[in-house]
Symmetry: D2
Subunit: 429 residues, 4 copies
């Protein structure tokens, strides 16, 4: 299996850190032992935990107003796969890539080859009917799967079927559908009729889903400039999954909710009713900010994983959530942000594994609210970095991925090969 | 049928206004005629439209910090019924009262008699397991229908069954269940287990529901000081109604949602899937403010009624929403606020009846967003007050209910008979 | 003075509507007379009221994800001026255009000529240091006026000075500064140091402001993807205006606040302390949506104007607010949206003029909350369209601007002359 | 100095934990040493850090709907002081109590004696003009310091002067003013006039402030049921502090802001302009929830302390913020919640002290957003509990305050002496 970063760069970086890591791991092991937790069992679970990288995440994102590209931006899907390989090599936490069609359209066999060369697989396929592309017959300006015009809906359905077809070849097992359909003004669409049309179109897609695939639908409260979106919240998303059938599940993007909403509770409800499909991880301060996972409210990420671990240990029905990052990197090197974000997701998982669930249940039964919440805090406060770093080291990654990456001068090298992208400005203050 | 306010007070008040009203009604009739709308048909619908008054609404409300009672506060449910009779007499828009048990507990036959004396009926019964009452065996401090302890849950179920029993005697046909169950801290309750227990308890209540009754469950994002509530949003509420059965419906309180949420869209979804039970009307600026309906965002109230009228005209399945006010009056005379709020709800209904729905549908099909939203605005902008006032006058009410009420000195009279309530202060800044 | 739309198109459109308008105006006059209001005085004030059109508003806007251009998009600032002339001709409510540099950069004398040909003037100049432009020496990726590097700050200052220079020639009297400076992550910038640098740079701009100019700074809570912005709210904006001096004022964009914030109260505070510079009018449901003014919450727009009229009548010190639209039109013909938005702003102004302020003050002094809020509602509910339409007609505009515009086939004509723009898609779901 | 909890209870509790603590402290010391941080210097700062306990915090709080009292609720201010003594004894982090008048009214000399008996001092005095008390001449129903009636304003001023007088005797050095003045409906008050009246009244209070006192004003976006409050945000609060003079400062309650607002940035601005008076610490999920500090978003609390430590190290002008808890404990033993909350505040302080500020500044200057935010995270992630526990132990407190407290059966003892409080229910669903 090929690696992108030279092995000696990683080795040298690790050598400088290994002794301290070993000491920290040993000490943490003793401390956890006192709490009745075997550190090696946690380590093993962390090693087995992976999160998918979105192909579009390795490019620099932007706002409605401007995009400020960085050096060495990927020119095409093959550059993107190479960038993903760097992330995977250094973190050993991101075994798969999630493609976006048509942005990543290419010969499926070449795609498969490019990925497997680096030991990468493919996660869910993502369709795009929220923007128009060159050569597209009908416009999605006024919607796609819920459009008033049957021709547009058909075109959107066919695009999704094409995504399934590509995915089939490259080994994907799921299709994720997010649409930008909605309205800008009251009255612009009839809510009920638009949703009927959407359901009908989705049923046509579902009908063609391979037997061993899953269909993920993603809710989102709004796009800037919207007054309504068709799949606005988990309530609507749940209805969709119920209407479609057993292979249909709800995808939760952490940034797609109204202010203050208790997201971990939504996660719990979807698990309880067998409809949690997976996650788009990211963080946000104000809206759908797509910031690095755990960068704004790390406790919230932990509380989400507290639900996931609870369900995992309880053996919840139909529970096999897909983990994926979905972020926009405007001011950082996307590779660095994605590496640290994948680790942040692992961190939340590892910490949630430390919760003393038997004690927690006892406090809950006894209405001891204070000790119950402290049971979570005790786990959350534990610095699990030695476990995460050891997991990386054991599997050939870097103890400190960002340092190793910077030492490799990868960005400088690709900047030389890949021409600079164009900065862009929008139009509204 | 008895009236509380002397007939000559109303007559005198109307006499001074009738001529202008007739002129305004005629002019509006001509203007609507130009738009192809028969004003008398609208008038007839408005005359038939009623909204229930909550018994607790005629008392002065308060905040967590303080309550500043007004003069002549009702001492018991019979005083409350008399106040409701005033509202009904002057507005002719509020034919029913909604009781809250145990606050309004009394001999059911006496209750029935007291109400029918003024021509009033009873709307949905409201149970209360969100506060403890004197003599109550087990406390609801840590929940009621979802409590960890089966004994508490049983007590809460029995209380609801008692509400049904009372309602049966007085002629109510629905039970509304809102609970304050939830948690203050992460980890305090297990979301899934609490919801399981809640569903189980609700099923026990549902099992005893008379054949011709409906069960309304009410969602609410939060209480101040909460981290989670059990029935937090319409998604959970919808699941409840589905799990319980055909007589179970969702109640929408306009103030119980996250910031920015598109409530009219939730209304549409619930109608579409046959689960809209009814409304608690009020308005809010920040949270669950329980301010007078339409006082903060009147266009939002109109947009809700736009959905209701759309469903009414389309003959939506299982569509017979209950209309009720649910407000807290802290700085106004509750009777005045309730009169104007009932009228405000009628106003939204009347305006929504003016929407040119055929034209609207055409604009929607043609993606003419601008003209579609203008079709709503054209209806909303029409001042329908002449219709509302005529409806009141035709049915024996007051053209200007607040003026007539003030001229009657009702408040002064009851203040003499009812002793002043105690002001109260809480404890947290 | 030249007009863009043929006079007979307007005449024909008006002819079909004039009789009904005259009747409606007369009736409204009588109704207002009953309330002690002289309709002609209101009409005169409305006729004198103008709102500026942003040059960028006549193009189709987009979201972070996509832009779907319409036909006949303006190719350059001269096309934009022509589109603005259409708006002005039909509404007679938009006498000025507000330019954005460098987007609208052109020979100032040609600009002046192009505008005056249609009787248009220029409102505030807008600088742009929130995106990079071709040929720009240093990037604004990490900020502009608050950038850590003095060279970038100097470049940004010089750009603003250039805007003043252009504005001087074309007759503008104000500079509006909005920056996209901020941070995406906690710790990325030191809040205090960044604000110090910003203030220093602004002082350099202020120092070069002509004696009869005003400087407007605009606050904004966030951009999508941000964790902080430098001028985040009116508190910071007020400090800026105080630090800079007497010619510095705060600009309020209605969409730039946190959820639920009481904007009319901010307006009142800025008036009270002599620092209200003016407005960017628009509406929003969730964030900085830049939707058509009054399209989502028309009562809020009225409440803002209630403050403005109150200050106007009270003769508040330093009170001469600039009125400007600032919207993004994604699904409508921008010209239509801008025409109706200008009218919507006039509508709020006209309605606010109808408030019985003497009665209102009496209710306020007597703590009669109910009658006080009804005093506002009585004004708001009055349909002032006959006044607005008469103002347009009297000054040579169209009674129904959208109908006249559609009858002129202007969009079709310019679509033939102006090549189709490119649709665009972003990169983040 | 007297202690409430028997010394041997604390000793026994500590004995069981001391060995592990010593080991953990040593290991942490080594780890920090590697990062160039001397653990003992941090320990010393933590030992010197104190936070005030609000007298009202030791009682059980409630919501608008209900209050569920716990056993052994304090009957008067002397019981409250005893409860505060427990908190102080076990945590050694809460040297002062903050009184609320008239709730805590008593002979000042007795108050002083009661507190000094336990080594406690008094923090800021809190006035109360947001609720009426028995025997009060004029009502605050429609406001206090901003009331339309001069008599009410005078009464409110005099109440504040009385608070100063009491505080003078007992050794307080500050007055905190929070008012519930505002409006429930648009138009109810004239924003500008109400604020003028407020400023005038505050000037009268300020004029009587002793030379060595400080005046803290507290802003708050809303109370449930409000449409506006007079001191709605930090912008208004800043103007107040500027208008009053050098002894006037702004108090920041973490729960009093609009959704999503960046509070740490407000803290920075107030520091920069010399007007940060101090804090009311608590946490919240939805509104002004008054939950335990750090219980919902611990990273936010850390980010606030990141600003405070930054200012402390930079020697910011006029920087001596008052630290106080302000919480409502509805489902926990208030003493336990207050102990853990005080520790949580210390935790945020200790972690903020670990930030490598030189490195951080370097990353900021270099626009290395990723490493800058990681510099904060590295400090935040460090589990500083060994430092906090050692600080308690060194000063005679408990390593595990909750365990020691429970082992003392203090609550059971006071429950025997103090009669059970009354549960209460409100009136609005």
């Amino acid at each position: 299996m090929e690696t992108v970063i030279a092995g000696d760069v990683v080795d040298k970086s690790n050598a400088a850190r290994e002794q301290a890591l070993k000491a920290d791991y040993a000490v943490l092991g003793e401390q956890l032992d006192r709490r009745g937790i075997a550190i090696d069992a946690i380590l093993k679970k962390v090693e087995a935990f992976g999160v998918a990288i979105p192909s579009w995440g390795v490019g620099t994102g932007g706002t409605r107003f401007a995009r400020f590209p960085g050096p060495g931006e990927p020119r095409d899907v093959f550059d993107k796969i190479e960038d993903c390989a760097v992330i995977s090599q250094l973190t050993r936490a991101t075994p798969t890539v999630s493609l976006h069609i048509p942005w990543d359209k290419a010969d499926p066999n070449r795609l498969k080859q490019a990925a497997s060369r680096f030991g990468l697989g493919f996660d869910a396929m993502n369709s795009n009917t929220f923007s128009d592309t060159v050569g597209q017959k009908l416009s999605y300006k006024f919607g796609s799967l819920s459009h008033a015009d049957a021709g547009v809906r058909r075109q959107a359905v066919e695009h999704n079927l094409e995504c399934i077809e590509i995915g089939r070849t490259i080994g994907s097992k799921a299709l994720t559908v997010w649409i930008g359909d909605g309205s800008n003004f009251p009255g612009q669409v009839n809510f009920a009729r638009a949703f009927e049309r959407y359901l009908e179109a989705m049923k046509a897609i579902y009908a063609e889903l391979p037997q061993d695939w899953r269909l993920f639908t993603e809710h989102k409260m709004y796009e800037p400039a919207f007054y309504s979106t068709v799949v606005q919240d988990w309530g609507t998303n749940y209805i969709i999954a119920k209407e479609l059938g057993d292979k249909a599940y709800c995808l939760v993007d952490l940034g797609h909710h109204a202010p203050n909403v208790n997201i971990e509770m939504i996660v719990s409800r979807l698990i309880q009713f067998g409809k949690l499909g997976g996650f788009h991880f990211n963080d946000s301060k104000y809206g759908d900010d797509d910031l690095d996972a755990g960068s704004i409210d790390p406790y919230r990420l932990f509380l989400v994983f507290n639900e996931l671990v609870d369900a995992e240990l309880a053996g919840a029905k139909d529970f096999q959530p897909a983990h994926m990052l979905d972020q926009s990197h405007n001011v950082t090197d996307p590779i660095e942000s994605l590496m640290l974000s994948a680790i942040e997701v692992q961190r939340a998982y590892a910490a949630a594994l430390l919760v003393d669930r038997k004690a927690l249940e006892g406090f809950q039964e006894a209405n001891d609210a204070l000790m119950a919440t402290q049971a979570l805090k005790a786990a959350y406060r534990t610095d699990v970095e030695p476990i995460l770093a050891t997991a990386r080291l054991n599997r050939g990654g870097a103890i400190d991925p960002v340092s190793a990456y910077r030492a490799s001068f990868y960005r400088k090298k690709v900047a030389a090969a890949r021409p600079a992208g164009a900065a862009g400005g929008g139009g509204i203050v």
